[in-house]
């Protein structure tokens, strides 16, 4: 029974160290290597964080939907656990996307918020994540919860193209893909890679934890312990 416990976070120490190194390198690239933008100054560096977390939020939504679809096909709890862990991190990243975007907008547009298409679609994404977890939390029976969540996760995918294409399909003030100095582009790519690595690491840790929780619950049921 204790085989679940000792290996809890041991397997990923090398991966954690690698991600920490990658993020430290990203920090150096963002604050030292990237040139200072002429019009906005240092505040422009928020973009390196904002784009990275926005990418992770969208990737989280796609992973949540794909894992949900895989659950509906295979009916194995592992896919539901992947869907949940990707959704949790996607929600966290979409919150950070809205927060960092708002901070940037305050300096660039002199407003914290505007009902601009890209911003509105991102807020819808945040609400969709919130709804997914509200529904998950309200269903007790594990199989019904997994099934309903999987359907919702697939429906949530519909907002992803809206967020991505909002700047092209609708008229708004959100920057599309501005021309950048090659160093800025490099830092942006490194930042996206660094945050993606952190996302994958945390998602894998959470998935493993959910799996262990399920094993412990099964042992408790067998031992007649009610939690």
């Amino acid at each position: 029974m204790n085989r679940c416990a000792p290996a809890t976070f041991g397997w990923n120490s090398a991966a954690s160290a690698g991600v920490a190194l990658l993020l430290a390198a990203c920090g150096w690239l963002i604050f030292v290597f990237a040139p200072r933008e002429i019009t906005m100054g240092d505040v422009q560096r928020i973009v390196y964080l904002h784009v990275a977390v926005a990418w992770c939020a969208l990737a989280g939504c796609v992973a949540m939907g794909l894992a949900g679809a895989a659950y509906l096909v295979r009916r194995t709890p592992g896919w539901d656990q992947w869907s949940q862990s990707a959704g949790e991190l996607g929600w966290l990243c979409s919150t950070l996307t809205l927060a960092t975007g708002s901070l940037w907008a305050h300096d660039a547009w002199s407003t914290w918020w505007t009902w601009e298409p890209r911003l509105t679609a991102t807020l819808v994404l945040w609400i969709v994540f919130a709804g997914y977890f509200l529904v998950r939390g309200s269903i007790e029976e594990p199989r019904r919860r997994a099934r309903t969540s999987a359907v919702l996760a697939i429906l949530a995918l519909a907002d992803v193209p809206l967020v991505v294409m909002a700047t092209r399909w609708f008229r708004g003030i959100h920057p599309i893909t501005p021309d950048m100095d090659w160093r800025m582009r490099l830092v942006l790519l490194a930042s996206v890679a660094g945050f993606s690595a952190l996302f994958v690491l945390l998602a894998a840790m959470r998935k493993r934890q959910l799996d262990q929780a399920e094993q412990v619950a099964a042992l408790e049921r067998r031992a007649g312990i009610v939690t």
């Binding site: 029974m1 679940c4 416990a5 505040v43 950070l96 305050h106 934890q209 312990i225």
Partner: protein, 53 residues
């Protein structure tokens, strides 16, 4: 510079909170495993007691 610092502090605080939340759930999981081990030992003890009697 203040806005930039707030943005990065916010992001790292969120990541740190998430990791702490994972740690909290891990601790709960460990407590449940300990409870299972104790129940297992008690069952074993009562079984051997019954056998001895």
């Amino acid at each position: 510079m203040g806005t930039l610092a707030i943005a990065f502090a916010l992001a790292w605080a969120a990541v740190a909170l998430y990791v702490m939340w994972l740690g909290y759930h891990q601790r709960l999981l460990r407590q449940r495993l300990d409870a299972l081990a104790t129940a297992d030992q008690e069952q074993e003890a009562s079984r051997s007691h019954a056998r001895a009697a």
